[in-house]
Subunit: 213 residues, 2 copies
């Protein structure tokens, strides 16, 4: 399988981490979204008509959306709970991540650490306080959930933890104060201690998806 990705993107890292925890080998094809490499006619026609990465390729099939790709890799493994309610509850946190967490926590990381606060346009500047507030609300909700439990769903790591870990553990890049969330800190240590864990590659050009992308 081939992961079409930018190594800087937390959404891409989710898939890398899922594959690593499961011992599934992946090949990688890198794109730089800052240079619109996912908007070329060839990419749009063959990889993803939505012009985004990550996309997981399995043979001649292409699967966009990071959380769907993680689900594809993890079906039948312990990363997806056996219990029907817990399985849906795992998806609940993954949908919540894409709606309430990523557009705030990941977008601020992109704006602050890669675009640069001085280079933001007027609309981004106007959105910043709201995204800061909603990002902190998302982190606070996670912290509350983790106050009484080790993992988001059930009694072991699942895709819900992986999906939420990706942008949370680098949220200080976006100016969030992770030290304020002690339970998140403990949970991040548990994830980093999992057999097969791989760190996020922070060396190469960034790509996170945001409203302007």
């Amino acid at each position: 399988m081939i992961l079409h990705e930018d190594p800087r993107s937390g959404n891409c890292y989710k898939i890398r981490l899922t594959a690593a925890l499961l011992g599934i080998p992946l090949q990688f094809r890198a794109y730089d979204i800052m240079n619109a490499e996912t908007r070329t006619p060839v990419f749009l026609a063959n990889v993803n008509g939505n012009g985004r990465i990550p996309v997981l390729q399995d043979g001649d099939k292409f699967l966009p959306e990071s959380n769907a790709a993680c689900f594809y890799l993890a079906e039948g493994s312990g990363l997806i709970p056996d219990d029907r309610f817990e399985r849906a509850d795992m998806l609940r946190w993954m949908f919540w991540e894409q709606y309430n967490h990523e557009p705030n926590v990941a977008t601020l990381r992109f704006w602050m650490a890669f675009v640069g606060e001085d280079a933001l346009n007027d609309l981004q500047r106007a959105l910043l306080p709201g995204k800061r507030e909603q990002g902190d609300a998302a982190l606070a909700l996670m912290d509350k959930q983790l106050a009484s439990r080790r993992w988001f769903v059930g009694d072991r790591i699942s895709l819900a933890d992986i999906a939420l870990y990706a942008y949370t553990h680098v949220s200080d890049d976006g100016g969030f104060n992770l030290k304020a969330y002690a339970h998140i800190g403990d949970w991040m240590e548990r994830i980093a201690s999992e057999p097969g864990y791989v760190p996020m590659n922070k060396e190469t050009p960034l790509a996170v998806r945001g409203p302007a992308d």
Copy 2:
């Protein structure tokens, strides 16, 4: 099972429609988000700490996030494909719906049809052209996908169709010109012809979730 909902919300309608197509009886508990009925201490403590509807209750368990609730109801039914790739591809469209479609198509419906264009604040006014453009891009991507196929995934209706139908079929409320998307029109007719189909309740107070909610 009890659906905590506002009958006006497309996200709530997804769950109603899924249950109707499957013949699963639901009870309903209505909230008016315009009056912050999902932000009370009791709601936050017992139903959803994220302060949102819909929430599907099964006994003493509460499941927020519309698409997760649909998955919970539909597991083991024909609304979720048997094929592993198709199942992930269904989730791909459902994640895409929450990230690329709902924040544009549903939010403009809320702003235009319920808040009223004249009552929008400056930030909402500044966001409007971008949301219009991205909402049209989402509808265009759907139309393109449906040009060569009857359903989003596989050869029959799945949760992907239900998730995308909910806000698409009322997107004219938000000022989108559905007549411009012929394949979407045909697909909407197919959905409305499914045995067990129920229409959206448009009579009672609206609630869709948006950035200000």
